[in-house]
């Protein structure tokens, strides 16, 4: 039956559709193809999530080869949840991308952009779905290479240097991961994640395993832009095309955070990662520094896309703190924030894309008066910003609530105060934009609202921000189960 092949179809369909885009060439056809493939992926991932949630883990042997020899795909609530985030965001942003990309890039061979997009999607979904450590590396490189390409296409020439910078950093990160996986293989003789988790405890005292852990931690943290390894991210996000930034911000770093969770809690055990290697202290300290320093840097940016890019690094800090708390609630808060942050940053970057579409600039001063000339776009930005701040009835509040709850459970309420204090910095950088947008007179009153095909997906995400803020039951259930699975709790 086809339903038993869902895990592989999840990856195979976008992979096959990518070269098909090259064949069809015509812009609209390739866009439709990419969009429909992305939507199919979304449907598959939703059904996978539901299956994993109701009947438990799904295992799939690629090509019929049994697990230790062949590659195994393993779907549980943790990665099914991430699959839904990635494919869902890709679908929404693709609806938006057609008008946005055409306008920003204005190139004839736009079908190649969709090819790159689909390859990136393949890679991200592959990393998430696979149960094989080496396969992770392969998919990681597929997604990375295509994302270097997508970023390099940005309208400003600095996009090229940003992409190159990301290429160098990303390759170093991926190679670190490769070294880590190699060292693990040396000691255990397997690449299957389940087998790895069973065999590591016997050799976990060796230096080799410690070194493997260190390489993996650094490599993944680099890809996830965990402070202070975030250097590539602000440039890459700032200069990439708007649609690409929205997609990347909502999916790429999320998948890396997933990898972090998978490796540290599932493959290495929680006690090894956090107690023996004392990763939690490092995560907590870097996380706290990240949420403060990066929010402060964001306040001083003149380019608001760069401002949001720095804010993304800060937001990764919240997830890192959640992981560092090393409790079921903390990890649940991190996973919740994975989803919630994808919603809010996706929406915010899409709103910026709408603004760029009309104004051709994202400098703060050029935004004067857009509250009047582009009311819907600006309202979307405000609601997204409120969500980022963590105002009640938005998703940002849900993550913040659980993060604070997790710190209080530990009795570390100095940390709770630090977390809420840092979210006030978000008020400052969002409100700088709000004031300029609403209270300064418009320089150019001829500016119109962005086209519907861009506004509707933006508002769809904004609506999701509010919907999942008012009714977070389902996301909390998934995140709670995912955290329990990672920690091996019933």
């Amino acid at each position: 039956m086809i339903s038993t092949h869902l895990p592989v179809l999840q990856v195979a369909i976008p992979l096959l559709a990518a070269p098909a885009c090259v064949v069809f060439r015509q812009a609209t056809v390739t866009w439709l193809l990419a969009l429909s493939v992305s939507c199919i992926s979304l449907l598959i991932s939703i059904s996978l999530l539901w299956q994993a949630f109701t009947t438990g883990e799904i295992r799939y042997e690629l090509g019929g080869w049994a697990a230790p020899w062949g590659i195994e795909y393993k779907v549980d609530v943790v990665n099914a949840f991430v699959l839904v985030i990635v494919s869902g965001m890709s679908s929404v942003v693709l609806v938006y991308a057609r008008e946005s990309l055409q306008h920003e890039l204005g190139i004839r061979r736009i079908h190649l952009v969709y090819t790159g997009w689909l390859l990136c999607l393949t890679g991200l979904l592959g990393i998430t779905v696979t149960g094989d450590a080496f396969n992770v590396f392969v998919f990681l490189e597929i997604s990375s290479l295509s994302s270097y390409l997508l970023i390099g296409l940005g309208p400003d020439r600095r996009a090229l240097t940003a992409a190159f910078q990301y290429l160098v950093m990303g390759t170093i990160g991926a190679t670190f991961i490769l070294i880590g996986i190699g060292l693990l293989y040396m000691m255990t003789g397997t690449l299957n994640m389940t087998d790895l988790s069973q065999r590591i405890p016997a050799v976990s005292h060796t230096t080799t395993i410690h070194a493997a852990f260190a390489f993996l931690a650094l490599g993944i943290a680099l890809k996830a832009a965990v402070f202070p390894l975030h250097y590539w991210l602000p440039n890459a996000y700032t200069y990439a095309p708007s649609a690409v930034t929205a997609f990347m911000a909502a999916s790429a770093t999320k998948v890396s955070i997933y990898l972090l969770l998978r490796f540290f809690f599932d493959i290495f055990s929680e006690s090894f990662s956090l107690r023996t290697m004392r990763l939690n202290e490092i995560l907590l300290i870097t996380g706290v520094i990240a949420i403060f320093s990066m929010s402060l840097v964001a306040i001083y940016q003149q380019d608001i896309k760069r401002m949001l890019a720095y804010s993304s690094v800060a937001q990764v800090g919240y997830m890192v703190i959640g992981i560092g708390l090393a409790s079921a609630t903390g990890i649940m808060a991190a996973i919740l924030h994975l989803f919630n942050h994808a919603l809010m940053k996706g929406a915010l970057f899409m709103a910026l894309g709408c603004i760029f579409y009309r104004l051709k600039s994202l400098e703060l001063n050029d935004l004067a008066g857009i509250g009047r000339t582009m009311p819907w776009t600006t309202a979307a930005f405000v609601v997204g910003g409120l969500s980022l701040i963590g105002v009640p009835l938005t998703v940002g509040f849900v993550s913040k609530w659980y993060l604070i709850l997790a710190t209080l459970e530990r009795g570390w309420w100095w940390l709770a105060v630090l977390i809420v204090a840092s979210s006030l910095l978000a008020v400052v950088y969002i409100w700088r934009v709000v004031e300029v947008a609403y209270f300064k007179p418009a320089q150019d009153t001829e500016v119109n609202e962005a086209p519907m095909s861009m506004l509707i997906p933006t508002w769809a995400l904004i609506a999701a921000n509010v919907y999942f803020g008012v009714n977070a039951q389902q996301t909390i259930r998934f995140a709670g189960r995912a955290a329990a699975e990672l920690l091996g709790l019933p």
Partner: protein, 484 residues
């Protein structure tokens, strides 16, 4: 009953939508505002009439075990009645004020006004701390556009202070306190006698109480009172709404509600956790009155007077006995009536003369007799002199201080009453008795303010006097808190 509770939120929100859609027809827009406010008041009165039966309505369940729900209890009903009743009067007043001044963006003004009232009612009828917090934040955000209405640099600066202090205290302290409470007690529902007893180490209680009281920045306890004078840049109807009805009263109302239904006054009394905060409130009462003495700008003086009066209510809550809490609850209503009258008068004077400084207003009482008579009554009510309603709330507050054997607190109340006399009475005295300046700078003769404004301020002034003779219902409503 359930429908009526939901309607209290739906009516103002639908009203806001209708106002927004009628933005091209000022007359229709303003009629919608009035009709909505009257409808809302009727619904609230209906709910009040059903007082005995307490109903609970579940709006949504964002998190497992954490509901957005509404219910009725005496304190909330009082606040809901005050807020919705004064909305009608404020609407009438704003029509006169906004038209008289030809203000910009009037539609935005009426829309956010309606949204703020919805938020205030949400706070009044909230069934748990979480719901209260949600509407509290909605109120902060929906009043921001009102504060910055003028859009000038000064208005923006005022708005920044307003939003900055209210958001940072609510997120920095209030939210932490709520999560802490949830973690300790397991739920957040307002319950008679409190929910914390037996769930928290008494040693931590003063800290939690401080987090709540400072976290509710709208109660303007020093040192988090700066937003209130800063928000004075708003048009006068907004100041009236903000500083007499919705915002500040939402703050002290939350303080009262949390003291009574989360901590429980017996529990606070047993542990003595209230002492520190009692002193903070007393200090605010005195200091704010002293600052008010130094202000020549009429609205600034009224703002500091509000800061001081709000702390009466917090002080009443911190005296932790039933008489003081009843007094505090009554003070919400009587101060609202008195202070809104004073703001209406300030606005009327501004519309008629464009004067803002008290020293420029000598002799105005003779040309604006109605306004100044209302102002005199408002002053008497805020000071707490008969024949005005303000007397009763002060009476019960003083009685509460006696009951608690807090002689110093009684002294604070008396001293601040003297200070009230010193900073409030000179305003009508100068107006009636000092030399005549009844022409403005351009040499034009000054007339009374527009009719709608006069109507509104006479009505609230009359309300102050009525509250003196018919204080019984108010007292019975408040005493209902302790009937269980």
């Amino acid at each position: 009953m359930h429908t009526a509770l939901v309607l209290t939120l739906v009516i103002p929100l639908v009203g806001a939508a209708l106002i927004a859609s009628a933005h091209n027809q000022p007359n229709l827009r303003e009629s919608v505002t009035l009709v909505t406010s009257v409808l809302l008041f009727m619904v609230v009165l209906y709910v009040l009439g059903q007082g005995g039966s307490s109903a609970e309505v579940l709006l949504a369940t964002p998190f497992p075990g954490l509901d957005l729900s509404l219910s009725t209890e005496p304190l909330g009903l009082l606040f809901a009645t005050v807020a919705s009743g004064l909305w009608i009067i404020t609407s009438i007043y704003s029509i006169g004020y906004m038209r008289g001044n030809n203000e910009q963006n009037q539609t935005r003004f009426y829309v956010f006004f309606a949204v703020s009232i919805a938020a205030a009612l949400g706070i009044a009828l909230s069934a748990n701390v979480f719901t209260l917090f949600v509407f509290y934040e909605v109120l902060t955000l929906s009043t921001y556009p009102l504060v910055t209405h003028k859009g000038t640099e000064e208005a923006r600066r005022g708005g920044r202070v307003y939003l900055g202090i209210l958001l940072s205290t609510s997120i920095g302290f209030f939210l932490v306190a709520i999560v802490w409470t949830w973690n300790a007690a397991g739920h957040l529902d307002f319950t008679d006698g409190g929910i914390l007893k037996g769930h928290i180490e008494p040693a931590f209680l003063p800290l939690l109480l401080a987090l709540y009281l400072f976290g509710i920045g709208k109660a303007a306890l020093m040192p988090f009172h700066r937003w209130l004078p800063a928000a004075m840049v708003a048009p006068t109807p907004v100041s009236a709404l903000l500083h007499a009805v919705a915002v500040v009263k939402a703050g002290v109302f939350s303080v009262l509600k949390i003291t009574v239904y989360v901590f429980g006054i017996e529990f606070l009394y047993e542990t003595g956790a209230n002492r520190w905060m009692m002193w903070v409130a007393a200090t605010t009462v005195i200091l704010a009155s002293l600052v008010a003495l130094t202000k020549d700008n009429l609205k600034a003086r009224l703002a500091y007077s509000t800061v001081s009066q709000l702390s009466y209510i917090v002080l009443g809550a911190m005296l932790v006995n039933s008489v003081a809490v009843v007094g505090a609850g009554m003070h919400i209503a009587t101060h609202a009536l008195g202070k809104i009258t004073l703001f209406f008068c300030a606005g009327a004077i501004y519309v008629a003369t464009h004067k803002t400084e008290i020293s420029d207003m000598d002799g105005l009482g003779r040309t604006m007799p109605i306004t100044y008579t209302a102002m005199l009554i408002g002053c008497l009510s805020v000071i707490g002199l008969p024949p005005t309603g303000g007397m009763w709330s002060k009476w019960y507050l003083a009685l509460g201080a006696l009951n608690a054997d807090q002689w110093l607190m009684l002294a604070v109340l008396m001293l601040s009453t003297l200070l009230n006399v010193a900073y409030l009475l000179p305003i009508p005295i100068r107006g009636f008795l000092y030399g005549d300046k009844s022409t403005n700078a351009a040499g034009k003769t000054i007339n009374e303010a527009p009719i709608p404004s006069l109507l509104a301020l006479s009505f609230t002034a009359a309300g102050c006097i009525v509250a003196f003779f018919y204080a019984q219902p108010l007292y019975h409503l408040m005493a209902g808190i302790f009937e269980h």
